[in-house]
Symmetry: C2
Amino acid sequence: MITLSEENYLKCIYRLGQDKGQKITPTAIADSLGNNPASVVDMIRKLTEKQLIIYDKKKGVELTAQGQKDATLIVRKHRLWEVFLLEKLGYHWDEIHDIAEELEHIKDDSLADRLDKFLGFPEYDPHGDPIPKANGKMPKRYSTTLADVKAGGFCRVAAVKDTTSSFLQYLQKLDISIGTKIQLIEKISFDGSLVISINGAEHKTVSQKFGESLLIDI
Amino acid sequence: MITLSEENYLKCIYRLGQDKGQKITPTAIADSLGNNPASVVDMIRKLTEKQLIIYDKKKGVELTAQGQKDATLIVRKHRLWEVFLLEKLGYHWDEIHDIAEELEHIKDDSLADRLDKFLGFPEYDPHGDPIPKANGKMPKRYSTTLADVKAGGFCRVAAVKDTTSSFLQYLQKLDISIGTKIQLIEKISFDGSLVISINGAEHKTVSQKFGESLLIDI
DNA sequence: AATAAAAATTAGCCTTACCTAATTTTTATT
DNA sequence: AATAAAAATTAGGTAAGGCTAATTTTTATT
Ligand SMILES: [Mn+2]
Ligand SMILES: [Mn+2]
Ligand SMILES: [Mn+2]
Ligand SMILES: [Mn+2]
């Protein structure tokens, strides 16, 4: 049996693994979970014993096939529950993540598949993140950010890279959601600020950090 | 903050309190949860400190007003989730209890009310147990059992007193569910066995234990 | 009232999952 | 290569929530 903490570590390692090429170190995991590196070292030992990860000083932490499978299922459940909370229970964008953080740990062999069917097999969660399929396959994940768009270019908001309440509430205030059309008017070379037009409305300026947190489809 | 274990103890004490007149002792709680009485004594200390229960050697364990409120909310969530699992995800009668046992602990202020609304404010869970209302009120709970019916009498199955898979699967085999009409043909005085007719079908014999596990409406 | 049985409590121990502080190892920088 | 800084690890500790075994208290039975 896999515990709730072990599941959270697996999910964290899985997420860190998305930034390809980056080695997953104990400190990276500690930072990501807000835990102490010493605690991470303890858990690395446990997950290694359970054969869910392999830890090599040179290569860092890597998920085994089983670890990958377990992590993917947790992510699948997390994202499906987010769709449920938003679409069926009427929660807002910025309220669902924390609840899904708990729901993702509910254990039942057929739960994810039943939920998936009930929701109509959604491909993306409300933040635009791809929902792993029952077979482990994953819909395309967007990687271009608003900051990558060249001046004058148009794009469509595909996903958010940051799911904090503060970012999501800011987006709401700016009237931006998944699917919104944005034109990048100008890049300020001084600090990377971006002048944009949201759905053709008047020009607004946002920070570089903002631009890098918004994933888009060109 | 109230922990998962504390919640399970509160719910257990709440349930034991339904059998009115019965004093709630550490051993009763231990038996009900499958824990050791020593562990129960530890938890009684913790819940007393948190002012969720009062323990008096003479009167046994009793919920405080706050304890009662907390326990009722857990029961409300448990039963609402059971309705969701059965009606929306298509689980069977005997599969939902264990999953709801986990779901009942998901913490969010508006979750129970949103789920209640989404499900159409159901009054009873799939086992016929009343779902506490948002205001704490409780629909009528059935207390007469099939074993209390007099020979020749008709009744309607209102709830199950036992939610074990073995009982629920047996009911399924007998084609009995909530709402089924039963006529009690005869009581065998030797061992309390009951001869019944289910929905007017041919006579069948069930045990006294069976009769005492089925709550009915006359 | 004396005794036996049952219930409750205490003492001491275990595991999980965290922590801080100290130490060792690795990586960068001069 | 020497040194400083950063990262990783070890050592030792805590709180929650269990356990068993021993002891004390309460309740029943003679
Ligand atoms: Mn989680
Ligand atoms: Mn999401
Ligand atoms: Mn529970
Ligand atoms: Mn039920």
